[in-house]
């Protein structure tokens, strides 16, 4: 009964080699988020989609991109991974309709651990 699914759970890539991480959800939620979490730190929001509307955080490097082809799926693309991009990448979803609803829970997937060699 997994609700937010991330694949793969572990990903190894080489320095500079593009990599794509996948997230899918069975909750039919409007919003999907991508977070980066480094060791012993809190999750850091990279960007999110409200339906098809992409919302980037101001401090997210251009090296990180995202695609949401439909409600269920969202992808994180890292165009040229550096050693500093090694981290856990978390996908989350919430129901929030566009513009309102401050009280809405985010549900997280299990994460993808990215290693950059």
């Amino acid at each position: 009964d997994a609700m937010v699914i991330q694949n793969p759970r572990y990903q190894v890539t080489q320095f500079g080699k593009p990599v794509t991480l996948s997230c899918s959800q069975t909750l039919n939620h409007n919003v999907m988020y991508w977070y980066q979490q480094k060791s012993s730190q809190a999750p850091k929001l990279l960007f999110h989609y409200y339906d098809k509307d992409f919302n980037n955080e101001a401090d997210t490097p251009d090296n990180f991109q995202s695609r949401r082809p439909n409600t269920s799926f969202c992808f994180l693309d890292i165009r040229s991974p550096g050693l500093g991009d090694a981290a856990m990448y978390l996908c989350a979803t919430s129901r929030v309709p566009f513009g309102l609803a401050s009280t809405d829970t985010q549900y997280f997937g299990p994460g993808t651990r990215l290693t950059v060699l």
Partner: protein, 116 residues
């Protein structure tokens, strides 16, 4: 701002004791708060939430207390068990202008270790 730093606050308790994990939040306008539990190698798991019009909410073995006067949040775990060992994050839903209206901002996290 975002949480930074390599050293998590830690709390070590004996199995069966009650645990209290504290969190200070930054924005007096925040109106929704969530506690997450994150076990090693896993994503954050929702534990309990509370809205700003409440000062206490209880779940199964967990209680969240909200003190808006001093912008303080706490999570109480009754009869702590080894399976409760994890990092606990508080998160506040902060209003901001531009783009989406709200952003969930995480605190630093507290590592809870339960000794059998």
């Amino acid at each position: 701002g975002e949480s930074v730093g390599l050293h998590l606050p830690t709390l070590s308790v004996q199995e069966g004791d009650n645990s209290i994990i504290n969190c200070a939040y930054s924005n007096s306008a925040s109106d929704y708060f969530i506690w997450y539990k994150q076990e090693s190698g896993k994503g954050p798991q929702f534990i309990i939430d509370i809205r700003s019009n409440m000062d206490k909410r209880q779940g199964q073995r967990v209680t969240v207390l909200l003190n808006k006067t001093v912008k303080h949040l706490s999570l109480q775990i009754a009869a702590t068990q080894p399976g409760d060992s994890a990092v606990y994050f508080c998160a506040e839903n902060k209003f901001r202008s531009g783009g989406s209206n709200y952003k969930l901002t995480f605190g630093k996290g507290t590592l809870l270790t339960v000794n059998p």
